[in-house]
Protein backbone atom coordinates (compact mmCIF):
# COMPACT_ATOMS: atom_id res chain seq x y z
CA UNK A 1 0.00 0.00 0.00
CA UNK A 2 1.22 3.43 -0.83
CA UNK A 3 2.15 4.98 2.46
CA UNK A 4 1.96 8.48 1.08
CA UNK A 5 -1.63 8.05 0.06
CA UNK A 6 -2.43 6.25 3.28
CA UNK A 7 -1.07 9.08 5.30
CA UNK A 8 -2.92 11.53 3.17
CA UNK A 9 -6.15 9.59 3.64
CA UNK A 10 -5.68 9.55 7.35
CA UNK A 11 -5.18 13.26 7.39
CA UNK A 12 -8.33 13.80 5.39
CA UNK A 13 -10.41 11.54 7.55
CA UNK A 14 -9.17 13.36 10.56
CA UNK A 15 -10.20 16.63 8.99
CA UNK A 16 -13.67 15.28 8.29
CA UNK A 17 -14.10 14.13 11.81
CA UNK A 18 -13.32 17.60 12.99
CA UNK A 19 -15.96 18.99 10.69
CA UNK A 20 -13.53 20.69 8.32
CA UNK A 21 -15.32 20.92 4.97
CA UNK A 22 -12.07 21.83 3.18
CA UNK A 23 -11.24 18.13 3.25
CA UNK A 24 -14.12 17.57 0.90
CA UNK A 25 -12.82 20.24 -1.43
CA UNK A 26 -9.45 18.51 -1.52
CA UNK A 27 -11.05 15.16 -2.21
CA UNK A 28 -13.18 16.68 -4.94
CA UNK A 29 -10.19 18.08 -6.79
CA UNK A 30 -8.26 14.87 -6.41
CA UNK A 31 -11.00 12.65 -7.82
CA UNK A 32 -12.65 14.98 -10.29
CA UNK A 33 -10.92 13.80 -13.44
CA UNK A 34 -11.33 10.12 -12.80
CA UNK A 35 -15.01 10.45 -11.97
CA UNK A 36 -15.70 12.66 -14.96
CA UNK A 37 -14.11 10.13 -17.26
CA UNK A 38 -16.10 7.30 -15.77
CA UNK A 39 -19.44 9.05 -15.94
CA UNK A 40 -18.80 10.39 -19.43
CA UNK A 41 -17.99 6.90 -20.65
CA UNK A 42 -21.26 5.70 -19.20
CA UNK A 43 -23.73 8.03 -20.88
CA UNK A 44 -23.29 10.78 -18.34
CA UNK A 45 -22.61 14.46 -18.59
CA UNK A 46 -20.22 16.75 -16.83
CA UNK A 47 -23.02 17.93 -14.59
CA UNK A 48 -23.85 14.34 -13.68
CA UNK A 49 -20.25 13.71 -12.76
CA UNK A 50 -20.08 16.81 -10.57
CA UNK A 51 -23.31 15.95 -8.83
CA UNK A 52 -22.37 12.34 -8.23
CA UNK A 53 -18.95 13.20 -6.88
CA UNK A 54 -20.41 15.70 -4.48
CA UNK A 55 -22.98 13.18 -3.36
CA UNK A 56 -20.31 10.55 -2.81
CA UNK A 57 -18.24 12.92 -0.76
CA UNK A 58 -21.26 13.79 1.32
CA UNK A 59 -21.87 10.12 1.97
CA UNK A 60 -18.24 9.78 2.99
CA UNK A 61 -18.62 12.75 5.27
CA UNK A 62 -21.71 11.22 6.82
CA UNK A 63 -20.12 7.89 7.34
CA UNK A 64 -16.98 9.30 8.83
CA UNK A 65 -18.89 11.69 11.05
CA UNK A 66 -21.18 8.94 12.29
CA UNK A 67 -18.34 6.52 12.81
CA UNK A 68 -19.56 4.15 10.17
CA UNK A 69 -16.62 4.51 7.85
CA UNK A 70 -14.10 1.72 7.84
CA UNK A 71 -10.81 2.80 6.39
CA UNK A 72 -9.93 -0.45 4.68
CA UNK A 73 -9.03 1.00 1.30
CA UNK A 74 -7.99 4.30 -0.20
CA UNK A 75 -10.54 7.04 0.03
CA UNK A 76 -10.44 7.43 -3.74
CA UNK A 77 -11.46 3.79 -4.04
CA UNK A 78 -14.40 4.39 -1.72
CA UNK A 79 -15.38 7.52 -3.61
CA UNK A 80 -15.16 5.81 -7.00
CA UNK A 81 -17.17 2.86 -5.79
CA UNK A 82 -19.82 5.10 -4.30
CA UNK A 83 -20.10 7.14 -7.48
CA UNK A 84 -20.36 3.98 -9.51
CA UNK A 85 -23.21 2.64 -7.34
CA UNK A 86 -25.00 5.95 -7.36
CA UNK A 87 -24.73 6.30 -11.12
CA UNK A 88 -25.85 2.77 -11.85
CA UNK A 89 -28.76 3.20 -9.47
CA UNK A 90 -29.67 6.43 -11.18
CA UNK A 91 -29.51 4.82 -14.60
CA UNK A 92 -31.61 1.91 -13.44
CA UNK A 93 -34.12 4.26 -11.90
CA UNK A 94 -34.41 6.32 -15.02
CA UNK A 95 -34.96 3.20 -17.10
CA UNK A 96 -37.68 2.09 -14.72
CA UNK A 97 -39.24 5.53 -14.79
CA UNK A 98 -39.22 5.51 -18.54
CA UNK A 99 -40.81 2.07 -18.53
CA UNK A 100 -43.42 3.21 -16.04
CA UNK A 101 -44.23 6.36 -17.98
CA UNK A 102 -44.72 4.42 -21.12
CA UNK A 103 -47.10 1.96 -19.48
CA UNK A 104 -50.75 2.83 -19.68
CA UNK A 105 -51.62 0.26 -17.07
CA UNK A 106 -50.13 0.27 -13.60
CA UNK A 107 -46.65 -1.06 -13.72
CA UNK A 108 -46.80 -4.70 -14.58
CA UNK A 109 -43.88 -5.75 -12.47
CA UNK A 110 -43.98 -6.06 -8.74
CA UNK A 111 -40.86 -4.02 -8.43
CA UNK A 112 -41.80 -2.06 -5.38
CA UNK A 113 -38.34 -1.00 -4.41
CA UNK A 114 -38.22 1.66 -7.09
CA UNK A 115 -41.65 2.92 -6.11
CA UNK A 116 -40.75 2.84 -2.47
CA UNK A 117 -37.59 4.70 -3.26
CA UNK A 118 -39.56 7.34 -5.03
CA UNK A 119 -42.02 7.66 -2.17
CA UNK A 120 -39.26 7.81 0.40
CA UNK A 121 -37.42 10.30 -1.69
CA UNK A 122 -40.56 12.42 -1.91
CA UNK A 123 -41.00 12.33 1.84
CA UNK A 124 -37.41 13.22 2.41
CA UNK A 125 -37.74 16.20 0.15
CA UNK A 126 -40.82 17.29 2.06
CA UNK A 127 -39.06 16.94 5.37
CA UNK A 128 -36.05 18.80 4.07
CA UNK A 129 -38.30 21.62 2.90
CA UNK A 130 -40.14 21.65 6.20
CA UNK A 131 -36.83 21.80 7.99
CA UNK A 132 -35.83 24.82 6.02
CA UNK A 133 -39.17 26.34 6.95
CA UNK A 134 -38.52 25.69 10.63
CA UNK A 135 -35.34 27.65 10.48
CA UNK A 136 -32.74 27.97 13.21
CA UNK A 137 -32.17 26.83 15.93
CA UNK A 138 -34.47 23.84 15.31
CA UNK A 139 -32.96 23.15 11.94
CA UNK A 140 -29.41 23.19 13.26
CA UNK A 141 -30.36 21.17 16.28
CA UNK A 142 -32.11 18.44 14.32
CA UNK A 143 -29.28 18.32 11.81
CA UNK A 144 -26.70 17.99 14.50
CA UNK A 145 -28.64 15.34 16.26
CA UNK A 146 -30.05 13.20 13.45
CA UNK A 147 -27.51 13.74 10.73
CA UNK A 148 -24.25 14.34 12.46
CA UNK A 149 -25.32 12.37 15.49
CA UNK A 150 -23.67 14.79 17.79
CA UNK A 151 -24.24 14.24 21.52
CA UNK A 152 -26.67 16.42 23.41
CA UNK A 153 -23.86 17.86 25.48
CA UNK A 154 -22.07 18.92 22.32
CA UNK A 155 -25.29 20.26 20.86
CA UNK A 156 -25.94 22.28 24.01
CA UNK A 157 -22.44 23.64 23.80
CA UNK A 158 -22.61 24.52 20.14
CA UNK A 159 -26.03 26.05 20.18
CA UNK A 160 -25.73 27.78 23.51
CA UNK A 161 -28.18 25.78 25.56
CA UNK A 162 -27.78 25.60 29.27
CA UNK A 163 -27.24 21.89 29.40
CA UNK A 164 -27.96 18.63 27.68
CA UNK A 165 -31.45 18.33 29.16
CA UNK A 166 -32.36 21.70 27.79
CA UNK A 167 -31.09 20.57 24.45
CA UNK A 168 -33.14 17.37 24.67
CA UNK A 169 -36.25 19.32 25.51
CA UNK A 170 -35.62 21.66 22.67
CA UNK A 171 -35.03 18.81 20.32
CA UNK A 172 -38.40 17.26 21.27
CA UNK A 173 -40.13 20.55 20.64
CA UNK A 174 -38.46 20.97 17.27
CA UNK A 175 -39.37 17.47 16.20
CA UNK A 176 -42.99 18.00 17.08
CA UNK A 177 -43.01 21.24 15.15
CA UNK A 178 -41.53 19.43 12.19
CA UNK A 179 -44.13 16.72 12.33
CA UNK A 180 -46.83 19.29 12.59
CA UNK A 181 -45.49 20.98 9.50
CA UNK A 182 -45.42 17.70 7.64
CA UNK A 183 -48.99 16.92 8.57
CA UNK A 184 -49.99 20.30 7.27
CA UNK A 185 -48.31 19.58 3.97
CA UNK A 186 -49.94 16.21 3.58
Amino acid sequence: MNLFFLNEDVRIIDQIRKGDEEALVTLYRTNERQISAFVASNSGTRDDAEDLLQEALVILWEKVRTGCYEHTAKISTFVFGTVKNLWLRRLARSRREIAMNMELDPMPSNDRSALEEMIESEESIQIADALDTLGDPCRKLLLLFYWEEVSMDEIARRLGFANADTAKSKKYQCKKALQKLLKGLQ
Binding site: L24, V25, Y28, E55, Y146, W147, Y172, K175
Partner: protein, 387 residues
Protein backbone atom coordinates in the same frame (compact mmCIF):
# COMPACT_ATOMS: atom_id res chain seq x y z
CA UNK B 1 -36.38 -4.69 31.47
CA UNK B 2 -39.89 -5.47 32.72
CA UNK B 3 -42.88 -5.84 30.53
CA UNK B 4 -44.20 -2.56 31.81
CA UNK B 5 -41.04 -0.76 31.02
CA UNK B 6 -40.93 -2.20 27.59
CA UNK B 7 -44.50 -1.34 26.83
CA UNK B 8 -44.72 1.55 24.60
CA UNK B 9 -41.05 2.15 24.96
CA UNK B 10 -41.34 4.58 22.08
CA UNK B 11 -42.76 7.08 24.51
CA UNK B 12 -39.20 7.53 25.64
CA UNK B 13 -38.01 10.04 23.11
CA UNK B 14 -34.36 9.41 23.76
CA UNK B 15 -34.74 5.63 23.55
CA UNK B 16 -36.70 5.95 20.36
CA UNK B 17 -34.00 8.11 18.77
CA UNK B 18 -31.24 5.78 19.85
CA UNK B 19 -33.16 2.78 18.51
CA UNK B 20 -33.69 4.43 15.16
CA UNK B 21 -30.11 5.70 15.01
CA UNK B 22 -28.79 2.21 15.91
CA UNK B 23 -27.07 3.58 18.95
CA UNK B 24 -28.22 0.66 21.17
CA UNK B 25 -26.60 -2.67 21.62
CA UNK B 26 -27.67 -5.52 19.39
CA UNK B 27 -29.41 -7.28 22.26
CA UNK B 28 -31.32 -4.16 23.20
CA UNK B 29 -32.36 -3.62 19.67
CA UNK B 30 -33.60 -7.16 19.33
CA UNK B 31 -35.67 -6.88 22.45
CA UNK B 32 -37.29 -3.63 21.47
CA UNK B 33 -37.90 -4.88 17.95
CA UNK B 34 -39.82 -7.84 19.24
CA UNK B 35 -42.21 -5.45 20.94
CA UNK B 36 -42.89 -3.71 17.72
CA UNK B 37 -44.28 -6.88 16.22
CA UNK B 38 -47.17 -6.74 18.60
CA UNK B 39 -47.55 -3.02 19.19
CA UNK B 40 -48.96 -0.96 16.42
CA UNK B 41 -48.64 2.28 18.31
CA UNK B 42 -44.92 1.81 18.87
CA UNK B 43 -44.44 0.64 15.33
CA UNK B 44 -46.03 3.81 14.06
CA UNK B 45 -43.86 5.90 16.36
CA UNK B 46 -40.77 4.16 15.04
CA UNK B 47 -41.90 4.68 11.47
CA UNK B 48 -42.41 8.38 12.12
CA UNK B 49 -39.02 8.65 13.69
CA UNK B 50 -37.43 6.85 10.75
CA UNK B 51 -39.03 9.28 8.32
CA UNK B 52 -37.86 12.26 10.32
CA UNK B 53 -34.34 10.88 10.43
CA UNK B 54 -34.35 10.19 6.70
CA UNK B 55 -35.67 13.63 5.94
CA UNK B 56 -33.26 15.43 8.22
CA UNK B 57 -30.33 13.47 6.81
CA UNK B 58 -31.49 14.25 3.32
CA UNK B 59 -31.61 17.92 4.28
CA UNK B 60 -28.18 17.64 5.79
CA UNK B 61 -26.70 16.13 2.65
CA UNK B 62 -28.30 18.78 0.51
CA UNK B 63 -26.96 21.46 2.76
CA UNK B 64 -23.47 20.02 2.68
CA UNK B 65 -23.58 19.64 -1.08
CA UNK B 66 -24.59 23.26 -1.37
CA UNK B 67 -21.78 24.36 0.86
CA UNK B 68 -19.30 22.20 -1.02
CA UNK B 69 -20.44 23.63 -4.31
CA UNK B 70 -20.01 27.17 -3.00
CA UNK B 71 -16.54 26.39 -1.76
CA UNK B 72 -15.54 24.86 -5.07
CA UNK B 73 -16.92 27.83 -6.96
CA UNK B 74 -15.08 30.26 -4.72
CA UNK B 75 -11.92 28.24 -5.18
CA UNK B 76 -12.24 28.42 -8.97
CA UNK B 77 -12.77 32.15 -8.81
CA UNK B 78 -9.71 32.61 -6.68
CA UNK B 79 -7.70 30.39 -8.97
CA UNK B 80 -8.89 32.28 -12.02
CA UNK B 81 -8.10 35.62 -10.44
CA UNK B 82 -4.67 34.51 -9.31
CA UNK B 83 -3.45 32.98 -12.53
CA UNK B 84 -3.13 35.06 -15.70
CA UNK B 85 -5.87 33.99 -18.00
CA UNK B 86 -4.60 31.93 -20.82
CA UNK B 87 -6.63 32.08 -23.90
CA UNK B 88 -7.53 28.63 -24.87
CA UNK B 89 -9.29 27.49 -27.91
CA UNK B 90 -12.31 26.67 -25.86
CA UNK B 91 -12.56 30.14 -24.39
CA UNK B 92 -12.68 31.91 -27.73
CA UNK B 93 -16.24 32.91 -28.57
CA UNK B 94 -16.23 31.26 -31.93
CA UNK B 95 -19.80 32.22 -32.66
CA UNK B 96 -18.88 35.86 -32.29
CA UNK B 97 -15.77 35.43 -34.40
CA UNK B 98 -17.82 33.71 -37.08
CA UNK B 99 -20.34 36.56 -37.07
CA UNK B 100 -17.62 39.17 -37.44
CA UNK B 101 -15.97 37.20 -40.19
CA UNK B 102 -19.27 36.95 -42.05
CA UNK B 103 -19.85 40.70 -41.79
CA UNK B 104 -16.31 41.38 -43.00
CA UNK B 105 -16.73 39.02 -45.92
CA UNK B 106 -19.95 40.76 -46.92
CA UNK B 107 -18.31 44.18 -46.77
CA UNK B 108 -15.39 43.02 -48.87
CA UNK B 109 -17.74 41.43 -51.39
CA UNK B 110 -19.77 44.62 -51.66
CA UNK B 111 -16.64 46.68 -52.07
CA UNK B 112 -15.26 44.39 -54.74
CA UNK B 113 -18.57 44.30 -56.54
CA UNK B 114 -18.93 48.06 -56.50
CA UNK B 115 -15.39 48.53 -57.59
CA UNK B 116 -15.74 46.06 -60.40
CA UNK B 117 -19.19 47.10 -61.48
CA UNK B 118 -18.45 50.74 -61.08
CA UNK B 119 -15.60 50.44 -63.47
CA UNK B 120 -17.36 47.99 -65.68
CA UNK B 121 -17.99 50.55 -68.35
CA UNK B 122 -14.36 51.45 -68.53
CA UNK B 123 -12.26 49.56 -70.89
CA UNK B 124 -8.84 48.86 -69.66
CA UNK B 125 -6.29 50.70 -71.63
CA UNK B 126 -4.30 48.11 -73.47
CA UNK B 127 -0.69 48.35 -74.08
CA UNK B 128 -1.41 49.86 -77.38
CA UNK B 129 -3.40 52.73 -76.10
CA UNK B 130 -1.56 55.91 -75.51
CA UNK B 131 -2.13 59.42 -74.54
CA UNK B 132 -1.80 62.29 -76.82
CA UNK B 133 -1.99 65.81 -75.67
CA UNK B 134 -2.51 68.13 -78.51
CA UNK B 135 -4.71 71.03 -77.79
CA UNK B 136 -6.61 72.32 -80.73
CA UNK B 137 -8.35 75.60 -80.56
CA UNK B 138 -11.47 76.30 -82.48
CA UNK B 139 -10.87 78.19 -85.67
CA UNK B 140 -7.19 77.75 -85.59
CA UNK B 141 -5.40 75.77 -88.16
CA UNK B 142 -4.93 72.35 -87.02
CA UNK B 143 -1.64 71.97 -85.39
CA UNK B 144 0.70 69.52 -86.70
CA UNK B 145 0.26 66.53 -84.62
CA UNK B 146 3.15 64.78 -83.18
CA UNK B 147 3.77 61.85 -85.40
CA UNK B 148 2.80 58.83 -83.56
CA UNK B 149 3.92 55.48 -84.59
CA UNK B 150 2.53 52.63 -82.78
CA UNK B 151 5.73 52.26 -80.87
CA UNK B 152 5.64 55.84 -79.76
CA UNK B 153 2.10 55.46 -78.77
CA UNK B 154 2.93 52.50 -76.66
CA UNK B 155 5.46 54.52 -74.74
CA UNK B 156 2.83 56.71 -73.31
CA UNK B 157 0.82 54.01 -71.69
CA UNK B 158 -0.43 54.91 -68.32
CA UNK B 159 -0.50 58.61 -68.92
CA UNK B 160 -4.20 58.68 -69.32
CA UNK B 161 -4.77 61.01 -66.46
CA UNK B 162 -2.72 63.89 -67.74
CA UNK B 163 -4.78 66.84 -68.67
CA UNK B 164 -3.95 69.57 -71.06
CA UNK B 165 -5.85 72.53 -69.92
CA UNK B 166 -5.10 74.77 -72.84
CA UNK B 167 -8.19 76.43 -74.10
CA UNK B 168 -10.24 73.76 -72.56
CA UNK B 169 -8.91 71.21 -74.87
CA UNK B 170 -8.06 67.95 -73.38
CA UNK B 171 -7.20 64.76 -74.88
CA UNK B 172 -6.65 61.84 -72.73
CA UNK B 173 -6.29 58.58 -74.27
CA UNK B 174 -6.22 57.33 -77.70
CA UNK B 175 -8.31 54.58 -78.96
CA UNK B 176 -7.01 52.06 -81.30
CA UNK B 177 -9.29 52.07 -84.20
CA UNK B 178 -9.95 48.79 -85.75
CA UNK B 179 -11.22 48.46 -89.29
CA UNK B 180 -14.16 50.69 -89.51
CA UNK B 181 -17.44 49.08 -89.52
CA UNK B 182 -20.56 50.78 -88.59
CA UNK B 183 -22.42 48.41 -86.42
CA UNK B 184 -24.34 48.11 -83.26
CA UNK B 185 -24.38 45.11 -81.10
CA UNK B 186 -27.56 43.86 -82.64
CA UNK B 187 -26.25 43.84 -86.17
CA UNK B 188 -26.19 40.62 -87.99
CA UNK B 189 -23.04 39.45 -89.76
CA UNK B 190 -24.53 39.92 -93.16
CA UNK B 191 -25.39 43.49 -92.54
CA UNK B 192 -22.04 44.09 -91.02
CA UNK B 193 -20.35 42.97 -94.17
CA UNK B 194 -22.47 45.27 -96.27
CA UNK B 195 -21.71 48.11 -94.04
CA UNK B 196 -18.03 47.31 -94.06
CA UNK B 197 -17.91 47.47 -97.81
CA UNK B 198 -19.73 50.75 -97.85
CA UNK B 199 -17.16 52.61 -95.88
CA UNK B 200 -14.52 54.31 -97.98
CA UNK B 201 -10.76 53.96 -97.77
CA UNK B 202 -8.32 55.85 -95.68
CA UNK B 203 -8.44 59.55 -95.82
CA UNK B 204 -6.01 61.38 -97.93
CA UNK B 205 -5.17 64.98 -98.22
CA UNK B 206 -7.38 65.17 -101.25
CA UNK B 207 -10.18 63.66 -99.41
CA UNK B 208 -9.68 66.18 -96.71
CA UNK B 209 -9.85 68.91 -99.20
CA UNK B 210 -12.92 67.42 -100.70
CA UNK B 211 -14.64 67.85 -97.51
CA UNK B 212 -15.85 71.19 -98.60
CA UNK B 213 -17.05 72.53 -95.40
CA UNK B 214 -16.18 75.93 -94.29
CA UNK B 215 -14.88 76.72 -90.94
CA UNK B 216 -18.22 77.89 -89.87
CA UNK B 217 -19.72 74.53 -90.64
CA UNK B 218 -16.78 72.47 -89.76
CA UNK B 219 -18.07 71.94 -86.33
CA UNK B 220 -21.15 70.40 -87.70
CA UNK B 221 -19.21 67.52 -88.98
CA UNK B 222 -16.18 67.55 -86.95
CA UNK B 223 -15.67 67.62 -83.32
CA UNK B 224 -13.65 70.57 -82.25
CA UNK B 225 -11.15 69.06 -80.02
CA UNK B 226 -10.50 72.14 -78.07
CA UNK B 227 -14.06 72.36 -76.96
CA UNK B 228 -15.20 68.92 -76.95
CA UNK B 229 -12.65 66.36 -76.23
CA UNK B 230 -11.44 66.39 -72.72
CA UNK B 231 -9.88 64.36 -70.10
CA UNK B 232 -11.35 62.08 -67.60
CA UNK B 233 -10.08 59.82 -65.03
CA UNK B 234 -11.75 57.00 -66.79
CA UNK B 235 -9.88 54.80 -69.16
CA UNK B 236 -10.99 55.37 -72.66
CA UNK B 237 -11.36 58.53 -74.56
CA UNK B 238 -14.04 61.06 -73.85
CA UNK B 239 -15.30 62.93 -76.83
CA UNK B 240 -18.13 65.35 -76.99
CA UNK B 241 -20.27 64.70 -79.97
CA UNK B 242 -22.20 67.42 -81.68
CA UNK B 243 -25.66 66.69 -82.89
CA UNK B 244 -25.54 67.49 -86.57
CA UNK B 245 -29.11 66.79 -87.45
CA UNK B 246 -32.13 65.91 -85.47
CA UNK B 247 -34.17 65.01 -88.52
CA UNK B 248 -34.93 61.63 -89.86
CA UNK B 249 -32.23 60.07 -91.85
CA UNK B 250 -34.12 58.28 -94.49
CA UNK B 251 -34.43 61.12 -96.86
CA UNK B 252 -30.93 61.16 -98.17
CA UNK B 253 -30.06 59.00 -101.11
CA UNK B 254 -26.48 58.56 -101.81
CA UNK B 255 -26.04 56.50 -104.80
CA UNK B 256 -22.54 55.30 -104.46
CA UNK B 257 -22.90 51.64 -104.24
CA UNK B 258 -24.76 49.05 -102.41
CA UNK B 259 -23.34 49.99 -99.10
CA UNK B 260 -24.41 53.53 -99.48
CA UNK B 261 -27.80 52.41 -100.53
CA UNK B 262 -27.84 50.26 -97.58
CA UNK B 263 -26.94 53.22 -95.49
CA UNK B 264 -30.01 54.88 -96.81
CA UNK B 265 -32.07 51.91 -95.93
CA UNK B 266 -30.67 51.94 -92.50
CA UNK B 267 -31.42 55.54 -92.13
CA UNK B 268 -28.45 57.66 -92.81
CA UNK B 269 -29.06 61.00 -91.29
CA UNK B 270 -29.74 63.67 -93.80
CA UNK B 271 -27.92 66.96 -93.62
CA UNK B 272 -29.97 69.47 -91.80
CA UNK B 273 -29.95 71.80 -94.76
CA UNK B 274 -29.59 71.30 -98.44
CA UNK B 275 -26.05 72.57 -98.61
CA UNK B 276 -24.97 70.42 -95.80
CA UNK B 277 -26.75 67.52 -97.30
CA UNK B 278 -24.78 67.82 -100.42
CA UNK B 279 -21.57 68.02 -98.50
CA UNK B 280 -22.59 65.05 -96.53
CA UNK B 281 -23.34 63.12 -99.59
CA UNK B 282 -19.97 64.06 -100.90
CA UNK B 283 -18.42 62.75 -97.78
CA UNK B 284 -20.22 59.52 -98.15
CA UNK B 285 -19.08 59.19 -101.67
CA UNK B 286 -15.58 59.82 -100.64
CA UNK B 287 -15.72 57.19 -98.00
CA UNK B 288 -17.61 54.55 -99.77
CA UNK B 289 -14.52 52.71 -100.81
CA UNK B 290 -12.91 52.81 -97.46
CA UNK B 291 -12.23 49.64 -95.58
CA UNK B 292 -14.70 49.31 -92.78
CA UNK B 293 -13.63 49.37 -89.17
CA UNK B 294 -15.50 47.55 -86.46
CA UNK B 295 -17.58 49.71 -84.24
CA UNK B 296 -19.98 48.91 -81.51
CA UNK B 297 -22.53 51.12 -79.89
CA UNK B 298 -23.68 51.30 -76.35
CA UNK B 299 -25.67 53.74 -74.34
CA UNK B 300 -25.67 54.68 -70.71
CA UNK B 301 -27.70 57.08 -68.65
CA UNK B 302 -26.38 60.57 -68.29
CA UNK B 303 -26.61 60.20 -64.54
CA UNK B 304 -23.85 57.64 -64.59
CA UNK B 305 -21.37 60.22 -65.80
CA UNK B 306 -19.11 62.00 -63.38
CA UNK B 307 -20.72 65.21 -62.27
CA UNK B 308 -18.33 67.45 -64.18
CA UNK B 309 -19.17 65.63 -67.36
CA UNK B 310 -22.84 65.95 -66.71
CA UNK B 311 -22.41 69.66 -66.25
CA UNK B 312 -20.65 69.92 -69.55
CA UNK B 313 -23.45 68.15 -71.33
CA UNK B 314 -26.01 70.32 -69.65
CA UNK B 315 -24.11 73.41 -70.68
CA UNK B 316 -23.59 72.39 -74.25
CA UNK B 317 -26.98 71.88 -75.75
CA UNK B 318 -26.91 69.55 -78.68
CA UNK B 319 -23.92 67.64 -77.43
CA UNK B 320 -23.53 64.07 -76.48
CA UNK B 321 -20.79 62.90 -74.15
CA UNK B 322 -19.35 59.81 -75.64
CA UNK B 323 -16.73 57.44 -74.45
CA UNK B 324 -14.72 55.95 -77.24
CA UNK B 325 -12.90 52.86 -76.28
CA UNK B 326 -10.76 50.57 -78.19
CA UNK B 327 -10.63 46.86 -77.87
CA UNK B 328 -8.94 44.22 -79.91
CA UNK B 329 -11.82 43.75 -82.26
CA UNK B 330 -13.91 46.83 -82.15
CA UNK B 331 -14.10 50.41 -81.29
CA UNK B 332 -16.84 50.97 -78.83
CA UNK B 333 -18.81 54.13 -78.65
CA UNK B 334 -20.72 54.59 -75.45
CA UNK B 335 -23.23 57.37 -75.58
CA UNK B 336 -24.34 59.02 -72.40
CA UNK B 337 -27.87 60.18 -72.96
CA UNK B 338 -30.49 61.85 -70.93
CA UNK B 339 -33.11 59.52 -72.27
CA UNK B 340 -32.29 56.15 -73.77
CA UNK B 341 -32.64 55.37 -77.41
CA UNK B 342 -34.71 52.44 -78.52
CA UNK B 343 -32.70 49.38 -79.38
CA UNK B 344 -33.97 49.54 -82.90
CA UNK B 345 -32.26 52.88 -83.38
CA UNK B 346 -28.98 51.56 -82.14
CA UNK B 347 -29.36 48.56 -84.36
CA UNK B 348 -29.86 50.70 -87.37
CA UNK B 349 -27.15 53.17 -86.51
CA UNK B 350 -24.23 53.77 -88.72
CA UNK B 351 -20.76 54.92 -87.95
CA UNK B 352 -18.29 56.19 -90.42
CA UNK B 353 -15.06 58.05 -90.58
CA UNK B 354 -15.18 61.32 -92.35
CA UNK B 355 -11.91 62.54 -93.61
CA UNK B 356 -9.17 61.41 -91.38
CA UNK B 357 -10.17 63.14 -88.24
CA UNK B 358 -13.88 62.94 -87.90
CA UNK B 359 -16.46 60.36 -87.21
CA UNK B 360 -20.15 60.51 -87.87
CA UNK B 361 -22.66 58.44 -86.02
CA UNK B 362 -25.86 58.21 -87.95
CA UNK B 363 -28.97 57.39 -86.02
CA UNK B 364 -32.48 57.26 -87.39
CA UNK B 365 -33.36 60.62 -85.91
CA UNK B 366 -30.07 62.37 -85.76
CA UNK B 367 -26.46 62.45 -86.67
CA UNK B 368 -23.73 62.99 -84.19
CA UNK B 369 -20.36 64.13 -85.32
CA UNK B 370 -17.11 63.64 -83.47
CA UNK B 371 -13.74 65.09 -83.99
CA UNK B 372 -11.33 62.32 -83.37
CA UNK B 373 -8.25 63.09 -81.43
CA UNK B 374 -5.05 62.92 -83.38
CA UNK B 375 -4.00 59.68 -81.83
CA UNK B 376 -7.15 58.01 -83.00
CA UNK B 377 -6.74 59.49 -86.39
CA UNK B 378 -3.30 58.08 -86.69
CA UNK B 379 -4.45 54.72 -85.55
CA UNK B 380 -7.21 54.77 -88.07
CA UNK B 381 -4.77 55.63 -90.75
CA UNK B 382 -2.43 52.92 -89.76
CA UNK B 383 -5.20 50.43 -89.54
CA UNK B 384 -6.53 51.40 -92.83
CA UNK B 385 -3.15 51.15 -94.42
CA UNK B 386 -2.92 47.65 -93.22
CA UNK B 387 -6.14 46.66 -94.86
Amino acid sequence: MSEKSIAHWTDDEELLSKFVLHQLSAAEETRLSSHLRSCTRCQLAVDDEVRVVAGVRHAGRLNLKRQLGSRLARGKQHAAAAVPRRISVGSIPWSRVASLAAVLAILIAVGVYNNWFGSNYRNSITQHEIVQEQPIRPGEPEKKQVPSTELELDKTIGQSNRVNEEAGSHTKSMVRVEPLKGKSEAYSPGKDEDLRQSITASPTQNSRDEIAVGNSRKSEYQVNLSDQAYSSAEQGFWVEGRIISAEGTNSGAVNNGPSVERQDQMGVAAAPQSGLKKEHEQLLRNRVQQTPIEFSLDQRPLSSLPQSFQNRQMQGAGTVQTLIKNSDDTVQLTLYLESPLPDSELRTADVRIVGDDSLVLSLPNKQIGYRLPPAIQNQVNMKLRRQ
